[in-house]
Symmetry: C2
Amino acid sequence: MSLLVVGSVAIDNVQTPHEIRNDLLGGSATHFSYAASFFTSVRLVGVVGEDWPAEHTALLDRRGIDTSGLSVISGGSTFRWTGRYEPNMNDRETLDVQLNVFGEFNPVLPESYRNSQFVFLANGVPAVQLKVLGQVPERRIAVADTMDLWISTQRDDLNKLLSQLDGLVLNDSEAKLLTESDNLVAAGHAVRKMGPKFVVIKKGEHGAMFFSEDLSYVLPAFPTENVIDPTGAGDSFAGGMMGYLTEQGNFDPATLKIALVYGTVVASFNVEGFGIERLQQVSRDDIEDRLADYRQMLSF
Amino acid sequence: MSLLVVGSVAIDNVQTPHEIRNDLLGGSATHFSYAASFFTSVRLVGVVGEDWPAEHTALLDRRGIDTSGLSVISGGSTFRWTGRYEPNMNDRETLDVQLNVFGEFNPVLPESYRNSQFVFLANGVPAVQLKVLGQVPERRIAVADTMDLWISTQRDDLNKLLSQLDGLVLNDSEAKLLTESDNLVAAGHAVRKMGPKFVVIKKGEHGAMFFSEDLSYVLPAFPTENVIDPTGAGDSFAGGMMGYLTEQGNFDPATLKIALVYGTVVASFNVEGFGIERLQQVSRDDIEDRLADYRQMLSF
């Protein structure tokens, strides 16, 4: 079984209170794909410019990530994001965004991707996310991410998207914005009533909440002292979650819960290095070990 | 076995986005005592003025809370606090504080309290907390709460107190202030190195973190949509925790963890009503039922 992801592929410049790092492999689809690759093969759809280093593609290929859907636009430049984290390592300021070729992103799936059954639409323009759904008629589960910009400016398209989704992942402030509710439990249920069968609210260092018609729960983040770069934490969370679902081949409630736990664990590794550097050092065994620690932490 | 608590007893005026309620039974020692009374008898030490309604004392007495340590100062007025909650129900603004008789609080324990083995020092002047410790020579465990004001202005006394404590509970912003660390895991360990054998960081709606030399973990709050009044949530958490420890008669690591869970559950009821009104409707069976739900929520 393969997992399809459509989203941004970028080059990031990241400033933290302790270090500045430039030209990092970034983007939502990148973090997602790498995280999911611990569990399943991945089909990546994205767009980059001719400045894109070939070694990045090679790195993804070696992880079983199919990059035949990664378009390289000659004469174009790759999406670049520059951000600075506050000392608390949660709040961040975007210093510069150059959408470049990602501004014209119009994903057309390779023929070999169109039978995808597990689908993730990383954060992007809702109209574009909708167009992707039209290209995967055999999908069994479609989950999307979104962001404040689309909630505020593309509400009609977003509502249409929500009605077609199995799941939505979004962060706490986005859930509050979308529902105009200040209570996250109320917000989670309200988002679910907009269409998705389940909703995951990401709370960063405070964990994640799950909502379906029959079930709601909250899981804490895995506590780590060693937060180097939170960029991509939410995407790696989604990648671990969707990767595990794809590996299992189902998304019943019990599997979904374990999938959220895998997402939590993978995200906790993601933040321990810049870009995907820490994930590159990690094995599936490391993930299983940390999951066992996490399970122990929540047992009493 | 009895649990000793020393702290404020107050009359609160609370404003939320939905309702204004005046003359509520409040104060840290009150919320703590009521929460602990589900598990054990309690010995309360506090001070009130002649405006204190006798029915409040009667209410505490009926819960097995010994009020022989509650001094009524004739000619004095009870500590009064007025606060307003923001729409998010987490942030609040103190509109008015009248310390009244609590400003001169100089707790002298009744003879019958001096053999107390389980001791909780609710938030108060560190010098006063230290004086209480001198009056309980047979104590087996002493746990204290503190606040930003004492961290900023009474550091020497606070350091002395920390060196004599078994446990400290404080909230997340206080832990960051005390340690000048922005990472809560680092902050928790740093506080522990200041003296207490264990540290509990309260994160409000995001749960609580535990730190000892050998162990650290985080537990989420019990998610509730029905947040009416968060006043006293931290005190009822501590009351549930210390009440359970006293009931069990020990504080080994496994018992401490379950105690944090009971604290979490009791606090989740506390916020579902103004003052202690919701706790007054709850039975030990209700607590056990919600604890079972919580355990289920964290199982996967």
